[in-house]
Symmetry: C2
Subunit: 424 residues, 2 copies
């Protein structure tokens, strides 16, 4: 039962109606091969907001993602605009020229059904699932860093005249429903009493109460909440955690950009880094007699460094070659001896992104432990005492990132701190 | 001869056609009284971009402002979108509920003629003219500070749910032509060789050449250029210098908001403060045997303090009463003992606006001396040597503001530095 007003042309697809819909699209029909009657359709969605169908034909397969007019996890009681599908399609279209094969191929967006037909990623799995399973994906962190560098650089005022960004802002400024979710669930609710919050109780009751009474922490979180709403550096994905990255041993794809808007680059960086750190802290909960997960934790930390260094290297390299924007214009530093000035100014800009990454990472970590939407990295830990121990350690790290930013000058500083924050 | 494509319904008004246009608007017709044949029309525009008509009837009078499709000062060779009239009208509409009598009453906006019919301000004069004449306006600085506080606070994420701001951003993100002017003329051209630049030559040749070779200065200016494009704190006027304020002894009105966009609050603060400082440095050029202007300079400095203190006091008072936005939400600091935390965080936010104000003030000062569009405060100084001396002092102050920000912790620090920067 739809809970927001839906256009008359909208209807919820099911495995019975998907073939007729796809059959009306000649290019996709050709891609699948055979007549629609031969196609096999499965609904595989496990997310909060959408239906996901896999359509398998004799020749090929596609993925069909349709927005539902409510938050699936909350049932029809939490209505959710369908327009997010349009913003997701708009984001893919905006970054596609810049990010190469790091997103799925998009075949079709249907404005009436709020539905995207895209490449079926196989045998990819969600990175978060792989991290819980203790599997290593040698390229994932490097690719994620490159992805954010490319997507954010080319949609920023560093790369292109600001008019491109303002055109995009005019469009994505309409994606208010999903920005509202982030504002409340990431930057507000975890720091106040709210019916939507939950935490491992009673084990974390005291720690969560302390967090909600910690003025310095809350002012720092509010500072990042403000930055989220006012620092329109680039088109950002808006939800780039390890559940929005699909991987194989060699391939990486970023998915689910429906939270896209113009915001701080550090928000995407922090989402990915924060979720790597959550994974690190969750590992004891997934240890077995055979595998303590210690070596795997070390690998995760290395990936955090790989991620940041990949972002930094790619971002600066793109800037060196594509400085056609209005921020730090090359024409102001045109003399040969000013090359080093420009280089230093760009490095300082990237240092600012590093600091933002840590602040946003902390906010993302806290919301997953003290807020509404948790992560399966922790939720899959059956023993509440073990889980609470992991979560308490992650909270300690997040707190340090937020209130002692001067302690973290380099990614190495972060890596060094992670094990120190483990609470026993 | 229009130089941009204009809609078929657009035509340039003149004193012959204004009465028929106004005559078609019943409310304004009533306000003027009598039949259109009795109205007297004068064109009084001396700005760069628009026609300004004063229409006087037997009962009342109005002002008619029409956008031209080119920059008047540059002739038809510099085309300029008419849409700026729409953004001006949109800005007035957005701030009118909040700023009381500090803007003119707006009677009508005509979308076909790109024309606003508004209150005729009389006997008001442009504040800049008054400052050149050495006249004192006891309320102007206080009112300007209150104006910026009200207009910016209520259009920010501090006052209202962010959706209001995003709606506004979707609209004002189209005002690209005028933002383009600011980006180039304020933040780029003065710092590079450009045909559009001019300066008092040869007296300032050396100083301007040094400025264009000063890496620290340019990096600081570029930082504010970036902030201008990415820090969407509030709906800002975009051109709030002393030429955009009309005054009498008791009344103050802010006009000409066609550069309006969502940007940093410090940009409006800096425009006003920077132009007060330019006025201060220009005063020796307007001294006479009878009046050295020393006492008047002291008054100007006092007004700079009055301006900032008025802004600060009003902004914090509005925040205390109207914190209904998503930034620093009160619900996160709900316990009684957290009132002081919230107060300190708000004060820190305003400290950030102070720093921004100084940086933007410096950029605005430099562009008026080394860029395209100068101010009559200096241009009216006939003796080039005297003028160059005044301008060199102002440039020294601007440079100090940009590269030694730590020297300026309070408005008193600024006032103390102003006379020290005089070059003899």
């Amino acid at each position: 039962m739809p809970s927001v007003e839906t256009p008359a042309t909208y209807r919820i697809l099911d495995i019975g109606t998907v073939p007729a819909f796809i059959g009306s699209l000649p290019e996709i029909r050709a891609l699948l091969g055979g007549p629609p009657e031969q196609w096999q359709v499965q609904e595989v969605g496990d997310g909060n907001l959408n239906l996901i169908f896999i359509v398998q034909g004799p020749v090929g397969s596609v993925c069909v993602k349709q927005a539902l007019p409510y938050v699936r996890a909350a049932g029809a009681s939490w209505p959710m605009t369908l327009e997010r599908a349009f913003f997701e399609a708009s984001y893919y279209a905006a970054v596609a020229p810049w990010v190469g094969g790091l997103i799925p191929r998009i075949y079709h967006y249907d404005r009436e059904l709020y539905c995207t037909v895209m490449e079926r990623l196989s045998p990819h799995i969600i990175l978060r699932q792989g991290l819980i399973a203790g599997r290593r994906y040698p390229n994932a962190a490097r690719d994620a860093g490159e992805y954010i560098a490319r997507a954010s650089f080319f949609t920023s005022d560093l790369a292109r005249p600001f008019e491109h960004k303002m055109d995009g802002m005019a469009l994505f400024a309409r994606n208010q429903a999903l920005v509202r979710i982030t504002v409340e669930l990431v930057f507000c609710d975890p720091y106040r009493v709210s019916e939507r919050n939950r935490h491992t109780s009673p084990q974390l009751d005291q720690i969560v109460a302390e967090l909600r009474g910690d003025s310095r922490l809350k002012v720092a979180a509010a500072h990042y909440g403000q930055k989220f709403l006012t620092d329109t550096q680039a088109l950002v994905h808006g939800d780039l955690h390890s559940g929005s990255v699909m991987v194989t041993e060699s391939d990486t794809r970023v998915i689910d950009p429906e939270f896209a808007f113009y915001g701080p680059i550090g928000f995407d960086l922090g989402a990915f880094l924060g979720n790597l750190l959550l994974s690190w802290y969750s590992q004891p909960g997934h240890a077995t007699r055979e595998d303590s997960r210690r070596a795997y934790q070390q690998w995760i930390l290395e990936q955090a460094a790989v991620f940041w260094e990949s972002f930094r290297r790619n971002f600066l390299a793109l800037w060196a070659e594509n400085a056609h924007g209005d921020v730090l214009p090359v024409s102001m530093f045109a003399r040969a001896e000013e090359a080093s000035t420009l280089e230093a100014a760009r490095a300082a800009f990237v240092d600012g992104l590093f600091a933002d990454m840590l602040g946003f990472a902390a906010c993302k970590m806290i919301r997953r432990i003290a807020g509404f939407a948790h992560v399966i990295d922790f939720d899959r830990i059956g023993d509440a005492v073990v889980r609470a121990g992991c979560e308490a350690s992650a909270l300690a790290m997040a707190r340090s990132l937020l209130i002692e930013p001067a302690q973290f000058r380099s990614i190495q500083d972060v890596l060094d701190a992670v094990p120190r924050m483990v609470r026993h």
